[in-house]
């Protein structure tokens, strides 16, 4: 007797079809074995499945049971196969169940009491099922809204008994509707709290509108981190295609709260400088998305940039340039999208006094050079906007609240949509100014291209259809200064 079901394993973000087969035969000694390159968590399914079936008050077949996960060459990890394994074991001796089971993809973890628990990567599995031509998917009830995003009929089940009842045709379950979590009641920190810092705020607005990387340098206590944390509050909402990408990554990483549906707000990630390179860019024996991918379409904040280990910073260069992280493993290559706005903060010298005209910095040139050497020129080159934030004056701190995020966000949304179809073109006079600047200022070829991009954003924020010389001039003022490199 043979039972079959279809489920999906994930390689990176890619779903791979896995056929689950259960074979029952009479033998001297009843047994239960799972074959097909299952990892430890997957092997332990034996115990969960057996207990789950008992708890659901179904009879456990006292036979020699072999469960095969095919293709056997693909590594299976995790607990998402539990539901498929339990159902195939039951289907092996229940024809009515078996007939409907093959029309469904299944995913979910079993509890000892037979409850079906949410697992990571449900949306990716659902997309795989949809592509494989399956029209329905059995999944944990908490993840049904997520699975429905893939355009599949998601049958959410809370308990193994409920799943069996549904498959036997005893109970009907309505497919779930796709869930969306729009900008929720969670209040983001607001820009109105940041007093003064006109230049820093302007750079933040440009970074939001044009998807630029931003480096905030300056003495400690000037509000660099405070400003950076307010970037999410002025970002436009994600388009539905972008939201789907983001939701998929977070689902696979297991950072998607159950029942949350489509993530429409740009993510914000701020890893600590103790994080490993694998945690930041992604990797591991079984490739998993890192912080750069979790920040896809959103913001990655690296606070105190020079404190991050050099290998971590250098590993950032590839995703910054390509917008994707490629993790190569013996078992294959996993690609994780990583198109994010990088916001970083740093001091100008070890003592922190530099950058304030009223403070005498006592750091020796050698110490300053050693401090700034921690951030390579190559990484520095990838920041479109570099701003030095001064210590705020007393009169600024006492001033009334500044412009709130909502007003800034309205401008950002307008500028972002102006940049979308066709970015503003550069006037001849503007190009002339750019050429003159390349001659006069230390500006690399890459630096010139970055300035040109920022100038387009400045023009779009100003509502101009063309890039004028004044826009280029403003963009030039945010270029990477030579002082941040060694001198």
């Amino acid at each position: 007797m043979l039972g079959r079901a279809v489920t999906f394993a994930l390689v990176g973000l890619e779903p791979r079809r896995v056929e689950v087969e259960a074979h029952l035969r009479t033998g001297q000694q009843p047994s239960f074995a799972i074959v097909g390159l299952a990892d430890r968590a997957c092997q332990e399914a034996k115990h969960r499945v057996r207990s789950g079936v008992h708890s659901a008050l179904f009879a456990w077949p006292d036979r020699v049971i072999t469960v095969n996960l095919a293709p056997a060459a693909l590594r299976k990890e995790g607990t998402g196969f539990d539901l498929a394994i339990a159902l195939t074991v039951l289907a092996a001796s229940d024809l009515a169940l078996a007939a409907r089971l093959v029309e469904h993809a299944c995913i979910g973890e079993l509890g000892l009491d037979g409850a079906i628990r949410p697992v990571a990567g449900v949306i990716a599995a659902a997309e795989g099922a949809s592509r494989a031509g399956l029209s329905r998917m059995l999944c944990p009830a908490a993840s049904a809204g997520e699975a429905a995003l893939a355009g599949i009929e998601a049958i959410g089940v809370r308990h193994l008994a409920e799943a069996v009842g549904y498959l036997r045709g005893e109970d009907a379950i309505e497919p779930a509707t796709a869930g969306t979590s729009r900008r929720g009641p969670v209040a983001l920190p607001d820009l109105a709290d940041v007093r003064g810092q006109e230049r820093g705020r302007r750079a933040l607005e440009l970074a939001a509108a044009g998807t630029h990387n931003l480096l905030l340098a300056g003495p400690p206590g000037t509000g660099k981190t405070m400003l950076a944390r307010r970037l999410p509050s002025i970002l436009p909402e994600l388009s539905s295609a972008q939201a789907l990408e983001v939701t998929r990554i977070h689902s696979v990483a297991g950072t998607l709260p159950p029942g949350s549906g489509l993530l429409a707000t740009p993510p914000f990630r701020a890893p600590h400088h103790g994080a490993s390179a694998a945690a930041v860019v992604g990797g591991g024996a079984v490739p998993r998305p890192g912080e750069v991918s979790l920040a896809h379409r959103g913001v990655l904040l690296l606070d105190e940039l020079p404190e991050f280990p050099r290998p971590v910073l250098e590993a950032l260069r590839q995703p910054l340039e390509d917008g994707v992280v490629s993790v190569a493993r013996v078992g294959g290559r996993a690609l994780f999208p990583a198109r994010f706005r990088l916001v970083a903060t740093m001091n100008l010298c070890p003592c922190g006094g530099r950058g304030d005209p009223r403070v005498d910095c006592a750091c020796t040139p050698a110490r300053i050079a050693a401090y700034r050497d921690k951030v390579s020129r190559a990484l520095l080159d990838r920041f479109d906007l570099i701003v030095t934030m001064p210590r705020p004056r007393a009169e600024e701190l006492a001033a009334a609240p500044s412009e709130p995020s909502a007003a800034v966000r309205a401008r950002v949304v307008q500028a972002a949509s102006a940049l979308e179809p066709a970015a503003p073109r550069r006037q001849a006079a503007a190009s002339e100014l750019l050429d003159r600047a390349v001659d006069r200022l230390p500006l690399s070829g890459r630096g010139r291209a970055r300035v040109a991009r920022v100038a387009r954003t400045v023009a779009a924020l100003g509502g101009s259809a063309e890039v004028l010389p004044e826009h280029v001039a403003e963009a030039l003022s945010y270029r990477s200064p030579t002082e941040l490199s060694t001198r």
Partner: protein, 289 residues
């Protein structure tokens, strides 16, 4: 790299240098420029390694003005003021000479290896009395300073603490009977104690390029700095003047009433015109030419 040697008894040995009490027996030159470059009218611009943003900006614009007027800028390739002096001369399209306290094939300090190459490419020279291969050592630097002073008709000290190597250069210049100028600084700043001390002893105050050029009998380069004809730029220069010549972008934004974007535009235009220098977020007006 091209390396040559001129002995003291050879033609081409710089005549001014030959007149100091203990001229080096021979000079090693790196670069393709003719040795006659060392006989041209020259100004030494020297100062502290650990200098302020003010010192940096002044060194750069003084050296730029001297180079534009056609004189050679001489300095020691050290970090801080020396490096800025060389850079200013290069930016002014002029020639500059770096005198080392080690062999001319050594890149010392390592951070200025690129600057040394730029000096040679721009038709300048890297000079030393030591044979190629000689390592830098602290006791060689005072001896190097006598060559800096000896090659120059005038020495300008931009910033110096009380016991600074730049003061040694000034002493040599005085002994050689050359002009010594010092840039006045704030009397409360340790970095100005050496230069203000020189002024008290009778050094000529260097309050602009004109002072330096007058000391060596040269006319200032008459093309005036391009003044951006923009009311915002004028407002920024006014505000900088009222703030003792230095301020952050946000200070200027408040003082002029310009929003951050418009102010950024004005700052770049002024920077391209050579009227302001920005470092570590602090905007400084450059000195009048």
């Amino acid at each position: 790299m091209t390396m040559r040697r001129i002995r003291r008894d050879e033609r081409g040995y710089p005549p001014l240098l030959a007149r100091i009490p203990d001229p080096p027996p021979s000079l090693w030159l790196r670069g393709d420029a003719p040795p006659a470059l060392l006989a041209d009218v020259a100004v030494a611009v020297v100062g502290a390694r650990a200098c302020s943003g003010y010192g940096r900006a002044v060194a750069r614009s003084l050296a730029g003005g001297v180079a534009e007027a056609g004189a050679v800028v001489i300095s020691g390739l050290a970090r801080g003021i020396d490096g800025e002096a060389h850079r200013g001369a290069l930016a002014g399209g002029g020639r500059t000479v770096a005198v080392l306290g080690c062999g001319i094939d050594r890149d010392y300090p390592a951070a200025h290896a690129e600057l040394a190459r730029a000096i040679v490419v721009a038709g300048g020279l890297v000079v030393s009395e030591y044979e190629p291969g000689v390592e830098p050592a602290p006791w060689r630097f005072p001896a190097r300073n006598r060559i800096i002073a000896g090659l120059a008709a005038a020495t300008v000290v931009v910033e110096a603490r009380e016991r600074s190597g730049a003061l040694i250069t000034a002493d040599f210049a005085l002994e050689d009977g050359r002009e010594v100028l010092a840039v006045p600084g704030e009397i409360t700043s340790a970095l100005s104690r050496g230069t203000n001390g020189l002024l008290r002893q009778g050094a000529t105050p260097a309050t602009g390029v004109a002072d330096v050029l007058e000391a060596i009998g040269l006319e200032p380069h008459t093309a005036p700095a391009a003044e951006p004809d923009d009311p915002a730029c004028a407002a920024v220069l006014d505000a900088l003047g009222a703030a003792a010549g230095a301020g952050t972008a946000d200070d200027l934004s408040r003082a002029t009433g310009l929003d951050a974007g418009r102010l950024a535009t004005a700052l770049t235009l002024l920077e391209l015109a050579g009227r302001v220098a920005v470092e570590d977020g602090v905007v400084r007006s450059t000195i009048a030419r």
